[in-house]
């Protein structure tokens, strides 16, 4: 609506349709209706009539939905999306890849050790290797 004022006749029509609470009137008419209601006792009386009916209508209480209904509705709701078959395959392949790489690494390491190790290792030299590798220098051991 582009007009800047509301006729009393139109105000009555709006009050008859939308009731006594101006916040429930069409947005475009609210400011003009508020101005008219402030200035006109007839407009105020019509709003009061509307409010009386609004109050009577509010006496019809609808019960809140039951907890059982809420549960039934939630039970029918979509479930979280399952992991797709493709995602499952990618996950399996990545595990296989990691396991394969680990196996290769272990085999390669064993091969290097076998090739480079002396033909016989005495207990003393083995103990020295172990101590170096573990950072243990034997200090304080008695």
């Amino acid at each position: 609506m582009t007009s800047t004022s509301l006729s009393l006749e139109r105000f009555f029509a709006l009050a008859d349709a939308y009731g006594g609470d101006l916040s429930r009137w069409p947005e475009a008419d609210r400011a003009m209706a508020r101005d008219l209601a402030t200035a006109s006792p007839d407009a105020q009386a019509r709003l009061a009539e509307g409010r009386a009916l609004d109050g009577a209508l509010d006496l019809f209480q609808a019960a809140a939905p039951s907890a059982a209904l809420r549960l039934r509705i939630l039970a029918q709701a979509p479930k979280p999306r399952a992991i797709s078959a493709r995602a499952k395959l990618v996950r399996r392949l990545s595990w296989l890849g990691a396991a394969g790489a680990l196996t290769c690494g272990v085999l390669a390491g064993a091969t290097v050790v076998a090739v480079s190790a002396p033909s016989h290792i005495d207990a003393d030299s083995l103990s020295g290797v172990y101590d170096q590798a573990s950072g243990f220098d034997g200090a304080g051991v008695g």
Binding site: A13, D16, L53, F60, S66
Partner: protein
């Protein structure tokens, strides 16, 4: 304007996207937000709380079915849900008419509560009866505008009528109710 109201800035959009992705928290939030409204709409349209719960459950089944296919921006979810619920109510009202006379309405058991509670139930029933006596379109207009607090534009969209026609339905309905509820208006 599209078929189901202005969908721009639909306050339910973000939640509905999460529901479509199967987000359980969003599903619970949507039920918490919409179920009381949908139940109230069905109760006031059917005048029967048990049937209203059945309708609400059916309406949500449709929500779950359509959420993944929802065309965002094409429709306002709340308006669509009101229309779906009203249609389910109409189906039940039609079946009621086709059935032979149903059992008499339940009588209030005075042992259920205190006098004040009893009086509140009686006045509530009085308004419910007055509303039920209205022609269906007038009742629906009042339920959507007064109780569901839809804007005039959204209520008109749900009913598939112009805003002028909605205004006429509301005015006629309220006039009839004013006469029937004289004693309750203070």
């Amino acid at each position: 304007m599209n078929t189901w109201g202005k969908a721009r800035d639909d306050p339910d959009d973000a939640l509905l996207r999460q529901v479509a992705a199967g987000d359980q928290a969003a599903i619970q939030a949507l039920v918490a937000r919409k179920l009381p409204r949908i139940c109230a709409l069905a109760t006031r349209t059917l005048g029967d709380a048990t049937e209203a719960e059945d309708v609400a459950q059916e309406a949500f089944l449709r929500v779950w079915r359509y959420a993944p296919k929802w065309r965002f921006g094409a429709a306002k979810f709340d308006t669509w849900l009101h229309r779906v619920t009203l249609n389910l109510c109409y189906d039940r009202l039609r079946k009621r008419r086709e059935r032979p006379a149903a059992e008499p309405p339940e009588q209030i058991d005075p042992a259920l509560g205190a006098d004040v509670e009893l009086e509140m139930m009686q006045t509530s029933n009085q308004v419910q009866a007055a509303l039920a006596e209205l022609p269906a379109r007038q009742r629906d207009a009042i339920v959507l505008h007064h109780y569901q607090e839809l804007s005039n534009i959204d209520a008109a969209v749900v009913l598939g009528v112009s805003v002028d026609a909605l205004e006429s339905l509301l005015a006629r309905g309220r006039r009839a109710l004013r006469a029937r509820l004289q004693g309750l208006q203070s």
